[in-house]
Symmetry: C2
Subunit: 141 residues, 2 copies
Amino acid sequence: MRVTLLSSAEETEAAFYDALSRADIEALMGLWAEEEEIVCIHPGAQRLVGHATIRASFEAIFERGAVNIQPVLLHASRNMMTEIHSIVEQVERTSEMIQDIHILCTNVFLKTPLGWRISLHHASIAPGRAPHETFRASMLH
Amino acid sequence: MRVTLLSSAEETEAAFYDALSRADIEALMGLWAEEEEIVCIHPGAQRLVGHATIRASFEAIFERGAVNIQPVLLHASRNMMTEIHSIVEQVERTSEMIQDIHILCTNVFLKTPLGWRISLHHASIAPGRAPHETFRASMLH
């Protein structure tokens, strides 16, 4: 497993969506915190807990190809050890896909000895088009 | 607004579901962090940001009555300033309601000068019955 020292949650999040866009399972799984309680919820799916289960889910997704997602409309709260991002996942859509939904996502990052790692990824489907908001982020504590 | 010193994230979460069960809007809103970037996503709904919007959404919910939810199957990660709970929300169902879905929820709590407050509540619909897992929680850091 590639071990990278990720110096910010933003860097880790960018690496996450980059790994998805390249269907790179090793890069993707190397971004998660090294503890068993990591949680991943794909849109409209059941909760997955732990490295093995989460890895298997992404392997199944990558069998259908890479996933191009642009994270936008970030709301962030952060302190020295944790960062929580609420984002809209802008998915590259083909013409057959439904246009009147969007994906909301909560990403939680923890500062570990190996840098900022993903602890939780919760994505879900919301009705309507993505809201038009200006970028906002706050520094807490 | 009632100001309570909430000494743990567990206490805040219990107070949250208690306020929902009593349709007590003041108690409910007093549990959120006092900053504008608080985020609330109700199941199958759009993202709400900020006290005013979130309060209005719960007022609309309470017009239809109280909400009885039992949080179960907790997976938690925590450090000194933040606690993230991934739970299944066991909703009291009437016979007309669909039985083959369940609600997954991410609750984020921050330690503030006024105790542990809710920063983010992200609930979403998952297919099938709630998984049967034994309770697990981990202490990180």
